[in-house]
Symmetry: C2
Subunit: 212 residues, 2 copies
């Protein structure tokens, strides 16, 4: 099992929070090798689109055999999920350890308000990759979504909002689902600002009656 | 195109509201024939599970050739979507024309509060069929979801809630997504009452600051 494999449905393993807590410690050269393959894959995806990414092309671009890519990532979906994880970690660093209002230091409600627009901006920047790796029915259990939900639930609790924080986190993070954002922006033609405003209004209403 | 086919992505066709507005008028014998096939399919799905439903079995149970089933529904997914539509119409009748608080006559906020638990109860009763027909990326454009969103947006406007009703409807109806409900009930082990309470709390918070 590579570190990019999402936990099985119903798995109770701890959330894979930044920076890679609970991952098997790769030996330094293996980690370098993996990073090199991911860089090659990210470059190819940026040039030709994530939908056109193949294991063969990554092997050729990194000057290794296809077997090396397969051993590291399993299959194409495994590679795409690892690549997504690579991008998602930058977003996670921003909301878990970056500057306020997204990161620590700001009021939890301010951090909640900043979270939605940051995720939508991030998804728009990497939309074709998110869509190419779209995990379908696994979408609720992929680590990235667990991290997002945990973050939102923690902020709701910190803000003293008297809600079922876990369930409310599903509702709020669900509005940032990649396929939904793509549907609203591309098929419905909503401007991104409308999504940002909708998120802020929803968060404001949810925290509005908090018991502090 | 059968009347069960969801509109193409980005289609701007009018919503297929109950009772089948905008559908091609089937001749009476064709409509009877179709109803007979759907009854056979519903019976087989109830007996053996929707996941095990085949075109051949429906043809045999209704004593017609497989070609008749194919001409009517296209493929297995078309048949499952038609069957789902059949069930969904009963739910739609309940919230569009049934007794209050779900149907007309009650305060719009009371109707909104009743809507979530009614949908969750309905989905639980037909969960294996909803999951067997799970339309994946098409989930935002299937008619059933458009009808649900329209209903919620109309109630939000009637209640005088000063929100982006259309976008808020995506957020609220998204919490009732079949795959999400299944994930929460089956994989996470949440009791259905927790989902109902979560819906009521979310609606109460959203309408809480309404400008009437």
């Amino acid at each position: 099992m590579t570190d990019a494999t999402p936990p099985a449905a119903g798995s109770r393993t701890p959330l894979p929070l930044v920076p890679g807590e609970g991952e098997p410690r790769l030996r330094a050269d293996a980690a370098r090798n993996r990073a090199r393959l991911l860089e090659a894959a990210a470059r190819l995806a940026a040039e030709h689109g994530a939908a056109n990414l193949t294991m063969d092309a990554v092997a050729a671009a990194a000057s290794v055999g296809k077997g090396t890519v397969s051993r590291r990532f399993g299959d194409r979906t495994g590679l795409l999920l690892a690549l997504l994880d690579h991008h998602e970690r930058r977003l996670q660093e921003a909301f878990l350890a970056g500057p306020p209002p997204l990161g620590p230091g700001a009021d939890p409600v301010q951090r909640l308000l900043a979270f939605g627009p940051a995720v939508v901006r991030h998804e728009r920047a990497h939309l074709d990759m998110y869509l190419a790796a779209e995990p379908g029915r696994r979408r609720f259990t992929v680590p990235a979504n667990q991290v997002r939900r945990t973050h939102v639930a923690v902020l709701l609790r910190q803000a003293g909002v008297g809600v079922d924080a876990e369930l409310t986190a599903y509702a709020l993070v669900g509005t940032l689902d990649t396929a939904l954002v793509d549907h609203l922006l591309t098929e419905r033609g909503f401007p991104p600002e409308r999504l940002d405003a909708g998120w802020r209004d929803l968060v404001t209403r949810v925290v509005g009656t908090r018991r502090t």
